[in-house]
Symmetry: C2
Amino acid sequence: MKEKIVYTNEVGATIDRLVEESGAKSVFTIVDVNTAAFCLPLLRETSKAVAASTVLTVKAGDAEKSLEAAAALWKSLSNGGATRSSMIVNVGGGVVTDLGGFVAATFKRGVPYINVPTTLLGAVDAATGGKTGINFNGLKNEVGAFALPAATVVSTVFFKTLPKHEMLSGYAEMLKHALLSGNEALARALSHDAADTDGLLALLRENIKVKTEIVASDPKEAGPRKALNLGHTAGHAFEALAMERRQPIPHGYAVAWGLIVELVLSHLALGYPTTHLYPVVQFVKAHYGSHPIVCDDYPRLLALMAHDKKNASPEEINFTLLHAPGEAEVNRTATAKDIETALDIYRDLTA
Amino acid sequence: MKEKIVYTNEVGATIDRLVEESGAKSVFTIVDVNTAAFCLPLLRETSKAVAASTVLTVKAGDAEKSLEAAAALWKSLSNGGATRSSMIVNVGGGVVTDLGGFVAATFKRGVPYINVPTTLLGAVDAATGGKTGINFNGLKNEVGAFALPAATVVSTVFFKTLPKHEMLSGYAEMLKHALLSGNEALARALSHDAADTDGLLALLRENIKVKTEIVASDPKEAGPRKALNLGHTAGHAFEALAMERRQPIPHGYAVAWGLIVELVLSHLALGYPTTHLYPVVQFVKAHYGSHPIVCDDYPRLLALMAHDKKNASPEEINFTLLHAPGEAEVNRTATAKDIETALDIYRDLTA
């Protein structure tokens, strides 16, 4: 099924049109405390549907992707008379769209919902693709559902007040999509200033399409969709190690550095051309700086990669690797030695 | 999508074949305390997959379709190392298949599951069609998901020890399917002894097909699937009123009596032929007896019907009605006066 995404900065009017087309009989808007303060006022002014809606507010932050928060939202929907003919509008970053999407997907066995991502990372990552969920039993997205939104409204109007590191965090995912797309998309992504919102909407349109086409070919992640994990195996390990040392790094930064490690692995294993490797390294260094690691970190990084992939041993770890921009191969295993070599080269390149 | 249903009394061997074909790497069996005692021993003897599986036991009864029970199952799956490559086998009646199906549909965004209904009602109703869910906020199935099982194994081996009223309760749903199918299916359903398990498996095969074809045409209940509500609007009202008076009646009995009311309404509104009405009345009286009501019950019954359909007023209530066996029309509204006339005739017919 083709996912519906509208690229526009006329967000309010677009929500109204989508709600009207859906024939929804009532609207519930889910926000977190931040988007309640910074995004909801504009939407209330520009959208009749949002202005007339019941607003449900959750806390901000990943801890809110909880069963307790989901239960509170189900209860509010139930007491508020929501039905399968209602529409839920999720206004926020990944926490709101993951949580709100899961609640929508499961209330009365499914209420349609519209995602209005308010961060770049939300727009390019969580808001599309239909992965919804909550954290449970100490594990991320342990409970959830695949449920595509009725529509996602992608705009840049809410990005102007985002801190620069938030923009960069989202841009790392765009870089990943460009790498999965091909030479031309990669060239365009590398020539755009990562923190610049001007011209971003057009770039988002071509960039998010890369993801939605992969998702449409494999909605429930049986295989090809794993291509979207590019950069994330090494990236998650960087992120987890930094967290263990109480010096957390933003998710997108970890992905940017992880992309370098996995492109080096791609070069070693599949001959990914260095002509398309060095420009990415330069871009990442220029915008994200370097993330220094030492040899003593390798065993823990390997263990974290193995854990992330639920592998029994760190001797054979699954990656998505590239033959070239636009030519991904999923389920490529790499040995501990391969990965250590790639980490060595990563250190040289980013030194 | 066509739903996979296997009709066989070789239940254990069939589960093994289905698990093997799926390539599942681990199996979790969900039972309630009753099926743990009466059904699990046979399955352990005859199925290697069940014998080697992790067994998760829930309480019996509708109160167990709760968020707390779902959370306990998610936790057991998480701690037990279940993945999207596992298989969940639900062994039980509607409570187990609704709860276990919902937990499977949402654990890690969806683990495949096999339903093994152990009651006739479960086989003809809850185990197929992909409606899963839990009760929440005092409302039935307020939270849930549409998620088809990987397969349902329909057998009669577990029915031999069921009380007669349990068999009759399930048979009322079979009667409904036969009415939705046509003259021939209706004749066959009326000539089968409702409490007889011999020959039931072949009858189940043709009968459940009526439901799964309707479901396949409308998996998320946008319209045509409402045909399956036949008999249930009046039936739920009978059931709820009896509950209010602390003289509960079995669900299937309420449906059987509700079918009479709605066939009478069908006759009045759509000319449903009396030649196909009287035999149904005779069958229901012979097997289910009569459910006497008086004029003073009408206002409460109408209010309960309106509430069931979420109508604002009891003046216009939605029904699924029949022009003839096999010719359903959904979303037919009836006025309070129509329904009162139908209730008058129901009383005459069942007196």
